[in-house]
């Protein structure tokens, strides 16, 4: 519904532009162009608005996971695994980075949300471990490194906007090189 979307969009914009401390229900209503009463018609309390924003981001990650999982079906080579993984996280973290910077650094997750995040990570690791079966002595540990690194570094460069010394293209290429080296080089 238009009102719900306006409220979510207003809340997301306030979060992205001014952070969690600036988020209050009266301001959300004003920016959404609706009355405060309408906010509470659709959301039981302030937290529920942020929850819905978080849920949508999580749902996007879950959808992306399902799509990428298909790309790892027919006996993928290490180079494929790395490419799919990095491009998946880059796509995820390209979405509204200002907003997600605030969500990840200022908003305390509920236990349920933490568990959903953990489940998504665990599923991703499990799927990658399966694809790795022939390339690693301990696929689960190897997959954990690959997934956590691809997630954390793409987050840092795209979301935290930590000063990257080169273009996004070069950085992600370098990231792939590192993960590929890890998978393929004999120590």
């Amino acid at each position: 519904m238009a009102t719900v979307e306006a409220i979510l969009e207003a809340a997301a914009r306030i979060l992205a532009e001014a952070g969690w401390a600036a988020l209050n229900t009266n301001l959300i209503a004003k920016r959404a162009g609706v009355s405060i009463g309408s906010v509470y018609e659709y959301f039981p309390d302030k937290r529920a608005i942020v929850d819905e924003i978080l849920n949508r981001h999580l749902a996007r990650g879950e959808a992306l996971f399902r799509e990428s999982a298909n790309d790892l079906n027919s006996g993928p080579q290490p180079v494929d695994i790395v490419r799919v993984l990095v491009s998946g996280f880059v796509t995820l973290h390209r979405d509204d980075p200002h907003l997600h910077q605030v969500l990840s650094s200022e908003v305390a997750l509920t236990l349920e949300q933490k568990m959903r995040v953990a489940a998504l990570r665990a599923n991703t690791i499990k799927r990658v471990a399966l694809a790795l079966a022939d390339d690693s002595d301990n696929p689960h540990i190897t997959a954990t490194l690959l997934v956590d690194t691809a997630d954390a570094l793409s987050h840092r460069w795209l979301v935290d906007a930590a000063g990257t010394p080169a273009s996004e293209k070069i950085m992600t290429n370098e990231l792939q090189k590192m993960l590929y080296a890890y998978l393929t080089c004999e120590p």
Copy 2:
């Protein structure tokens, strides 16, 4: 002074145990065993208390950086660089992980704090790049990968307490293997 330490300790414990939302000045005073008036005797406002906690963590990181920098003086081998880097971040992130989990995921940094964090990261990267001079075509980019990865993964495993599939020892060893492979393997 004892009062200042008591206030900082109380605030840190509240943050670690109950999060940013539960932190308020009256509670800090009560837990510190001082009056609310005394809190404002030593800190101009609530934010200054958190700032001091953050500053101390940053100062610890800066000191750790200076110590580790010495270990990279006499033409270190890749294996030394990786070891020093990983052990440095592990040491940093082992300190009061509950508190720093909250600081990194719930407390919005001021611009000045963001700049100080960025400066510490930049200095670390610069120092590693220097040590890498002979091992990389583009020492700065390579160092960025090494530093960001060592930081992010040790943070994730020690601070975020994200489910690790193996002991901290095994995980950090694996991390070193990945960074070492990145440094030494021909593609």
Copy 3:
């Protein structure tokens, strides 16, 4: 009309089950199975709904009064007066005691309603005083005692559900004994 009755019934049930604090127009509409707009089609405001419920209770009391008045026509004996009085109030207070408990202890009456209650009481007292003419030196005062006592005690036992030490039958019989003693005993 069915809608009006549904609204009144819903409001009465909410009052009886959850009290005045839980009564709100949106809930009334939902429980009545009509839209909030329809509630305002038939009642100018929330108070009018409660007023109608109160009015019906008062009308019932007034009707009961008229019926009982007939029973006191042909020179009634004290025993008849007492019996008619007590049985009248018991009948009145047996009606939906939960609802009337709330109405009498949580709902502020308007001035008009207070006056109507006072008028009903005054009429009842006047009628009883008339019937008492031969049995009392000051029929008006005596009637006031009889009426107020019969009303208050039956209310307390049936409506307030104050712990009664015996069955309703025994208690009301005892009440009649007290009123009869008052009317007939020489001090």
Copy 4:
């Protein structure tokens, strides 16, 4: 403390003058001459203010009960019992009748408060039954009638300010006559 008393006094005056619907915390603070913050320094919420007012009234009733109980010690005659009972309730109901009219007709009691009221009534009935031992076949039932009637009628005349046909003195005297007749007359 002065602040607490000012808050209770302000709340009591608002209740007595304007009723429950007009009672709000900002008005209480204003009438008490303190800030809204001070109200919440001493009372956890609005309800607690009213609770304290109710508790004080109940405590007054309990104290009055203890005093009156002494007057019923040495084998009292029916006339003494009736006098003590009526004068006790009259004293209780003379205290701030406007306030207590609102408390009894507009404020929903909590379960705990209802139980405390019930306990006071039960104790009073028990004490009167004891004093009646020789004057009644069923002292408990007789005492219930006496206590409930003395309470209800004095409440009605003094608190509800229901139009009384004669002076308070005459009415209470008449009430004593009724109770005495009930105790002493053979049917």
